[in-house]
Symmetry: C2
Subunit: 475 residues, 2 copies
C-alpha cells in the first residue's frame, strides 16, 4: 500500500468510527502533513481518494468537510428458493459468461478472478521459472497420482490454521477446486441423486451437478449466518438427499462466515441423517478475522466431510492447483481422480509449494486481504452513490464478492445484455440459482482494482439499473 492509501484508510476509519462527524471540518493539508510526517502532495492525494469515495466534500477556499452520509444499505433477507429437487438450468448463460474471456477488451465484472497483478506474486513466477530450469526431467514426467508430496506437506501445514490436523497422506492434489468438487461428487453420487446447496450458490458448482445428472435442492440461506439448518433438516426429512455442498467461510456469493455453533450444528445434522458434507473452503484464507475461521472439516470425527480447496483465490487461477481431503472416501476419490483427469502437472505444484514454504504465500495473502477489504468498502460506496436507494448489499466478512439485491422490477439478465454492448460483463443473480431465480440480483467482483476506469463502470452499471426501473415505471 502506498503512503497516501495508508493515510486515506486511516482517515476513512476515523470517519467510520465517528471521530470526525458528518459536516465537521477536517484538518488542513499542512496540519496533517506535519502530524503524519508525509508530504503535502501525499495528503492531497489521500483527500482526493476520500473525495472520490464521497466520504468528504471540498469547500472552495475553506478545506475539506466530512460528507453527510447516506445510511449503509441493508443486508438482503434470508433467501427463499423453491424447496424441491430440480435439474440445474442456466448453462447457456454460464457458457456465454465464460466465453467472454476470449475478448481481451471486455471488463470482467462477473467473473471470480482474484487480482493477480500485485508485486507480492513475483516470487511465484520467479520460482516457476527456477523449477523449469532446475528440474526439467521431473516437470516433464508423470506425477504421483496423489500429487507432489512437497506440496501436500505445505497444504497440511496451511490446514492447521483452519483447525484441521491432517498429514500429507490425507491430501489429494487436484487441478483446482472445481476439479476437486467434481471428483468428490463423482466419488459419492450417481446420476439421479439429490444434493442440497446453499441458495444462492456459485454457478460453477451448480453446473457440475447438471453435468453429472445430479439434482439440486436449494436451501434458504441467510446472507449473514449461512444455510438455514432448520430448512435443511426439513428437506432431509422429505427427500433422499446424498449430501450438501457448503461454502461456510467467506461464502461465494454472499460473503458470510457461518458461526462456529452453526458449523457444528450442520455437522451434527449430517451425522444424524448420514449424509456427506462437501465443504468448499476456497475463500477461507481470505477471511478478515484473525486467526482465520475454522472449517467444518476440523470438527469432523467420522470422515464424512470431503473438503475441497485451491490456490485459485488466494494466489492465482492459472495455476490450477487445488486439493481434496477425502476423509473416508479416499479410495473412491483416488479412483475418480485417475478416471477423470489422471495426474496433475508437476511444475505448478512445485512452484506453489516453495511459494508457501518460504513464507511468500502468507505475506501475499495478508496483503490481499487488506486490499480486498478496502476494495469492497469502495465498491459499497459506489453502489450507494450510483444505484437507486432501496437496494440491499451484503457485508462480506472476507473474500471479494458483493451480492446486490435490486428492486424486484429490475431484470439483471436484460441489463447484462445491454452492458455487454458496452464491453462490460456482469453476473446476474440467476446464474446462482438452479432454476434461474434472483434475476433482480447481481454479484460484483471487487478484486478489480478501484481505479477510475472501474468507478466509471460502476456508474454505467448504476445508470443501466436506473433506466430499467424508469422503463418499468413508464410501462
Amino acid at each position: 500500500m502506498t503512503r497516501y492509501q495508508h493515510l486515506a484508510n486511516l482517515l476513512a476509519e476515523r470517519i467510520e468510527q465517528g471521530l470526525y462527524r458528518a459536516g465537521e471540518k477536517l484538518p488542513s493539508v499542512r496540519t496533517l502533513s506535519q502530524e503524519h510526517g508525509v508530504s503535502i502532495s501525499t495528503v492531497q492525494q489521500a483527500y482526493q481518494t476520500l473525495e472520490t469515495l464521497r466520504l468528504i466534500t471540498p469547500q472552495p477556499r475553506s478545506g475539506y468537510f466530512v460528507a453527510t452520509r447516506k445510511a449503509q444499505p441493508p443486508v438482503p433477507a434470508m433467501s427463499r428458493p423453491v424447496q424441491r429437487p430440480v435439474e440445474v438450468t442456466q448453462w447457456d448463460q454460464v457458457l456465454e459468461m465464460l466465453e467472454a474471456r476470449r475478448d481481451k477488451d471486455i471488463i470482467l465484472f462477473g467473473g471470480g478472478s482474484p487480482d493477480v497483478t500485485q508485486p507480492s506474486l513475483k516470487p511465484l513466477w520467479r520460482e516457476m521459472s527456477r523449477v523449469v530450469q532446475h528440474h526439467p526431467t521431473e516437470i516433464l514426467s508423470y506425477d504421483e497420482l496423489a500429487g507432489r508430496r512437497e506440496l501436500r506437506e505445505q497444504v497440511a501445514r496451511l490446514m492447521l490454521d483452519g483447525g484441521s490436523t491432517v498429514t500429507a497422506d490425507d491430501i489429494v492434489i487436484t487441478s483446482g477446486c472445481h476439479s476437486g468438487l467434481s471428483i468428490a461428487l463423482l466419488a459419492v453420487c450417481k446420476p439421479g441423486d439429490i444434493v442440497a446447496v446453499e441458495s444462492p450458490t456459485f454457478y460453477g458448482t451448480m453446473q457440475l451437478l447438471r453435468g453429472f445428472g445430479i439434482k439440486a435442492i436449494e436451501i434458504p440461506t441467510d446472507p449473514e449466518s449461512g444455510i438455514s439448518i432448520e430448512a435443511l433438516e426439513l428437506a432431509l426429512e422429505q427427500w433422499p438427499i446424498k449430501g450438501v455442498i457448503l461454502v461456510p467461510n467467506c461464502n461465494n456469493p454472499l460473503g458470510f462466515i457461518m458461526p462456529e455453533a452453526r458449523k457444528r450444528a450442520v455437522l451434527a445434522l449430517a451425522q444424524r441423517h448420514d449424509i456427506v458434507i462437501f465443504e468448499d473452503d476456497i475463500y477461507g484464507e481470505l477471511a478478515m478475522e484473525y486467526p482465520r475461521p475454522r472449517t467444518i472439516h476440523s470438527f469432523d470425527i467420522d470422515g464424512r466431510v470431503l473438503m475441497c480447496s485451491s490456490f485459485t483465490k488466494t494466489v492465482a487461477p492459472g495455476l490450477r492447483v487445488g486439493w481434496i481431503v477425502p476423509g473416508r472416501y479416499r479410495d473412491r476419490v483416488m479412483h475418480m481422480k485417475y478416471a477423470s483427469s489422471g495426474t496433475t502437472p508437476p511444475a505448478t505444484q512445485l512452484a506453489v509449494a516453495t511459494f508457501v514454504r518460504e513464507g511468500h504465500y502468507h505475506r501475499h495473502v495478508r496483503r490481499m486481504r487488506q486490499i480486498y477489504q478496502s476494495n469492497m468498502e469502495t465498491y459499497t460506496c459506489w453502489l450507494r452513490q450510483y444505484f437507486p436507494c432501496g437496494i440491499c448489499v451484503t457485508r462480506p466478512l472476507g473474500g471479494y464478492m458483493l451480492w446486490v439485491e435490486l428492486p424486484e422490477v429490475v431484470d439483471m439478465v436484460c441489463v447484462a445484455k445491454q452492458l455487454c454492448r458496452l464491453k462490460i460483463q456482469v453476473a446476474p443473480g440467476s446464474l446462482f440459482s438452479a432454476s434461474g431465480k434472483y434475476r433482480n440480483c447481481l454479484r460484483i467482483n471487487c478484486a478489480l482494482p478501484t481505479t477510475e476506469k472501474h468507478r466509471l463502470v460502476m456508474e454505467q452499471l448504476g445508470e443501466a439499473v436506473h433506466r430499467a426501473i424508469d422503463q418499468d415505471a413508464n410501462a
Copy 2:
C-alpha cells in the same frame, strides 16, 4: 544420435537385409573407419553395440562375424476375450503400479512414459521459462474454456498430417488425453451403458470406464491389423452398445496400425449401427511410416468420431496438454469439460504452442521415432536372448511398446510381485483386460534407453520367467 550409434544402425540394417549373411566375416575396423571417415574407436564402439545386441560375435584374433540368428519370435495370434459386457476390475493392481512412481529407485518398465531426457526438448523448457517471465499475468489468470487459441491453431495444423481438416474452433484443449477421453465418455454415456474396446486395451482407459460405471465389452483384436470388425459387428447385433474406443494408430499395447480399408470399414459399421467412435490418437505421430497414418476421424462425415489426443507421448506427460475434436458433441463436451475440470493452465499451453510453431516439435518427434524404433529392435533382441523360446512378440509399426505373450504356465502377476522386490516394476497383461485375462502376457516400455542397466533388467526379467516355467514343470 552419436556417430557410433549411426554406424551401428547402418550395419544392423545391412545384416537385417541380408547384405552380410550369417557366419560371414565383417569388414575390419580399419576398413570401416576409412570407408565411413570415422575414427577407429567409433567403429569399435559400433561393433561393441552390435555385439551387445548379439547381432555379431567376435572371434579372437580374426575379427567380427555375423551371428547365426535365432528366428524372429512369432507375432501373437488374434485375442479371444470373453464376449459379453463386464464390469472392469483390476483397479487395485493399477493403483499399485501408479503408486510405484513414488519410489524414485524403482525402474518403471511397466509405465507408459516416453523418454523426456533428449536434448531436443530443451527449446520446450526454455520456452516455458520465457512464458513465465514475459506473460506473468496471463499465465496466472483463468483461460478460455476451450483452451488457448494459439495452441488450438497449432493442433489444427498438426491434424492435417493425419488427414483431418479442422479449425481452431473445432478443438477443445484438455488436461492430457486421459481427461479428454473422460470428458468424451461423460458427454456421450451414462452409468450402465456398454462401450466396446479392443482387447487388450490400455488400463487407463479401462479404469475410466470403471470409474463412470460403464460396462466394457472386449472385442477380439489382431496384433497386426487391429479390432476384428466381424466380432464387433456380432457384438453390436447382440448388445445395446453406445460406442467403441479405438487406438487405431500405433496401438497401445499391440503396436499395430489399422489398414486404411479397415478404418473405413469400422466407421461404416459405426454409421450403420449409429454408435460413436472414441478415437485415441495419442501415439499416432510416432508411426514409423511417412507420411503418418490417417485417423479414422479424417474419414468421418457426420461428426460421430470424437478424437482425443495429447502431447504426452510425443513431447512430455508432465505438460498435461491434450485435446478433443468433439464433432457433433461439442456442446456436451464443453459442458463436461467445465463440469469435470474447468479451464486448463495457460503456461504449458503457451509453451507447447511455440514449441510446435517454431518447428522444434517436428524435429523432436522425428528424432524420437528413430530412437524408439531402434530401442524396440534392441529390446526384441534382448527378449529373444533372455526369454524362453516359444514366446510371441508384437512387431509394432510405431510407438514404443512391445507386447509379449509367454507360455500359458507363466503368471506375470506373480512374477511382477517378485520383481517388485528387485525394484523393477512391470505391467502384467491382466491390467489390459477388464476381467484380468492375459496373465501370461507382459507389456514392455521401450522408451527406456537401451543402457547396460536396462539390459540387465531384461536379463533379470527373463530369468524370473524361466524360473516360473521351471517351477511349473517341477510342480
